[in-house]
Symmetry: C2
Subunit: 233 residues, 2 copies
């Protein structure tokens, strides 16, 4: 009659110590393989063998190959999350919403140089999963900023913007279409500025807000080729 809550005191998250140990072993082994041979060469059996555990453990801990990649990508992107949620402006709080939006996109694009490979591999299989916590966090952030800009239906607009910041798409544009980071950032600014321009004050003084937006967009256009979002990763 010890009740049904007899454990749950061992690990930090109700995870048994051996389970936690194996999670770390697998994560490290996976990171090693990815660093050595790229994400495509990561097989569930290989990572299990390298970690010294059975294949079933991989699926117990991460659910799927994609889950493992996602966990890997999340570890790499944790500092990025920190940066845009609690870091210094313009990425973090304190700057104007439009500036934060622009900075977020530029940082996301710049981020591809570092862990784009892993991000792309993680979002394989059925396109990027919009239900993944990380994706949800990104969209929440975007929709908050969009709401502050007075954009209509910020939630749906956040999906539109997030669809473009997709790692698979950005890497494709960079690698297979030879588009520069600067060009992608420029297009991002244009897109965001366009959305912002029609949000606030659609009745009068609309040209003032429009000019404001256009000025802001052209201010930062075509410079800063790839040093945007240095604080990521």
């Amino acid at each position: 009659m010890q009740g049904e809550e007899l454990l749950r005191v061992t690990g930090d998250d109700g995870e048994r110590t051996d389970a936690a140990r194996n999670r770390r072993l697998l994560l490290d082994a996976a990171a090693e393989i990815v660093a050595l041979h790229g994400p495509d060469k990561l097989t569930t059996e290989g990572v299990a063998r390298r970690a010294g555990v059975g294949k079933g453990t991989v699926f117990r801990r991460f659910g799927s190959r994609a889950g493992l990649l996602h966990a890997l990508a999340d570890e790499a992107g944790r500092s990025f999350q920190q940066a845009f949620m609690a870091g210094p402006p313009p990425l973090g709080p304190g700057a104007a919403p439009l500036d934060r939006l622009i900075a977020f996109g530029e940082a996301s694009i710049a981020r591809m140089h570092f862990d784009g490979q892993i991000l792309r591999a993680a979002e394989q299989r059925g396109g990027p999963d919009p239900e993944h916590p990380t994706q949800q966090l990104i969209r929440l952030h975007l929709s908050l900023l969009l709401r502050q800009l007075g954009v209509q239906d910020p939630e749906l607009a956040s999906y539109q913007l997030a669809a473009f910041l997709n790692a698979g798409l950005l890497l494709h544009l960079q690698e297979h279409r030879g588009m520069s980071t600067a060009r992608l950032c420029e297009s991002w600014r244009t897109l965001v500025a366009a959305l912002a321009a029609q949000g606030p004050a659609p009745d009068r003084t609309s040209d003032r807000s429009l000019d404001h937006v256009l000025d802001r967009a052209s201010d930062s256009a075509l410079d800063r080729p790839s040093d945007a979002g240095r604080e990521c990763t």
Copy 2:
């Protein structure tokens, strides 16, 4: 010494008659399986068995499972291509570029009710392949219209728009987020109108073009819940 061009006279596309026959058999078998059990249940072996051919033939003819799905989706979407390239306005030529863009998005969204399942299945594996001819055609169409609107970098903007018209995303929003077709269309109009608003005349008379755009957008807002793009499929 008959030269190296001795055949190439049989099928309509240099395809041997048995090859063409098997292609049709496979396509029909695949369509049948999809109609009966959904795209997820389509296996290369199953479709081969149903078509009465070997498994290798599937890959010879379509390259991969995704290729087969793509061919299926293309067949279903051929009339849609016709409609926006040579059909009646506003989808086809003759209408104003902005109207055509709006109509295109609305038709794409409406199309999901019919062959969204197949489209999503086809674009599985690594997100939608931007190099597929159908995707290229869609982006070409979009970029042409965007250029007529004076949008900066129409090519890249077409990627942004196409990213949103992704079947996987649209179906997700409809099925898992309960978003209505009307809401998706509304958001599409807003997005396109925003891009169009800053395209032409960024120096003077910008408020005229802006008003023009906003009027046009609000004209068709919130009505036409799901009867848009009837001519598709």
